[in-house]
């Protein structure tokens, strides 16, 4: 969010498009959950959730237009930390 021109790129139209995409993805995730996909189901719904939250972060939270590297890397760092926590705990629990 550095200047007005950059701001202008995220127009109302793109906001509404993202909103519509989020609603469609919600419908998709509910539909896939009612199909009997077995073990893949959790991967599918989490993948859709990841796509949805990426849309929110990039467009609604404007990370897409964020120039400052300090802010850009904060969220990936938090997610990486979380992945390490979950990965290590998982391997601990599975190999006990």
């Amino acid at each position: 969010m550095s200047d007005e021109t950059k701001r202008g790129e995220s127009t109302v139209k793109s906001y509404i498009a993202v909103w519509a995409a989020l609603l469609v993805l919600t419908a998709v995730t509910v539909t896939t959950a009612s199909l009997d996909l077995g073990k893949i189901a959790i991967i599918v719904v989490l993948a859709i959730a990841a796509v949805k939250s990426t849309l929110v972060v990039l467009y609604f939270m404007h990370l897409r237009h964020e120039k400052r590297i300090v802010i850009k890397i904060l969220i990936p760092i938090a997610i990486a930390l979380l992945a390490i926590f979950i990965g290590l705990t998982y391997s601990d629990i599975m190999n006990r």
């Binding site: 969010m1 550095s2 200047d3 007005e4 701001r7 995220s10 109302v12 906001y15 509404i16 993202v18 909103w19 989020l22 609603l23 919600t26 995730t29 509910v30 959950a33 189901a41 959790i42 719904v45 989490l46 859709i48 959730a49 949805k52 939250s53 929110v56 972060v57 467009y59 609604f60 939270m61 400052r68 590297i69 300090v70 802010i71 904060l74 969220i75 760092i77 938090a78 997610i79 930390l81 979380l82 926590f85 979950i86 705990t89 998982y90 629990i93 599975m94």
Partner: protein, 232 residues
């Protein structure tokens, strides 16, 4: 919270404005380089993102707990999630997503000096937050009726995994609901401040940060929804 701490920054922005900055409060770098000092609204935004990353880790800890207990008790988790209303969960997802849209439109309007539109969008957002809480309230009430609330004697007779599931369900959706209430409060305060003219297109960062917080609440729900409602 970092949102409030930012207020002194708005004073400095006025100085910037005299210096010919076109978009005051939009976080220009002093000196224009990445290594330049953060000032005013700039540091407020950085603080907000830092806060958001700590929130990710706060909920992350709970998601970790959920993942490991589910790994240990997959059948119980699946059985327990049947008790949740998929319809209510889907409805609430749509409500929160829509409220995120109205918040981003409120920020957009304020930045373009359309305070009236901003106030209107904020009012809709707060109303949607309220709808979310009402639906949540009905869901919780139904759980209490069925004796699935924490410390209920019926729940104590259930398998371990079911107890864990509902413990996590109440903790995580409860913590999320607290965030919704906090978000609504902040949006409400800023709505009043926009009407009074103390938040304007010149210092939109306060509202931008409130928006970031609201979207975070949305993102957390985007993960809570499939994990609790869609696993049966």
């Amino acid at each position: 919270m970092s949102i409030e701490r930012e207020t002194p920054g708005t004073g400095r922005e006025a100085v910037h404005e005299g210096g010919g900055h076109e978009t005051v409060g939009n976080g220009e770098h002093v000196g224009g380089s990445e290594s330049g000092r953060f000032r005013g609204s700039e540091s407020g935004k950085l603080g907000m993102w830092l806060f958001i990353s700590t929130e990710i880790l706060l909920f992350g800890g709970l998601f970790l707990l959920y993942a490991m207990y589910r790994l240990k008790n997959p059948a119980d988790f699946h059985a327990a999630s049947l008790d949740l209303s998929r319809f209510a969960g889907t409805l609430n997802t749509c409500v929160l997503i829509t409220s995120s849209l109205t918040v981003v439109l409120a920020v957009f309007s304020l930045q373009r000096d359309r305070a009236k539109d901003a106030v209107r969008y904020l009012a809709v957002s707060i109303a949607l937050g309220f709808v979310f809480l009402v639906v949540k309230g009905f869901e919780w009430a139904a759980k209490f009726e069925h004796g699935l609330n924490p410390n209920a004697s019926f729940l104590a007779t259930q398998p371990k995994g079911v107890m864990l599931y509902f413990g996590l369900y109440f903790t995580m959706t409860g913590l999320h609901a607290v965030h919704v209430i906090v978000g609504m409060t902040i949006l409400g305060i800023f709505l009043v401040r926009i009407r009074r003219g103390t938040i304007t297109a010149r210092n939109p960062t306060l509202l931008e940060n409130a928006g970031l917080y609201w979207h975070l609440v949305d993102v957390i729900w985007i993960f809570l929804f499939p994990l609790f409602y869609l696993i049966s």
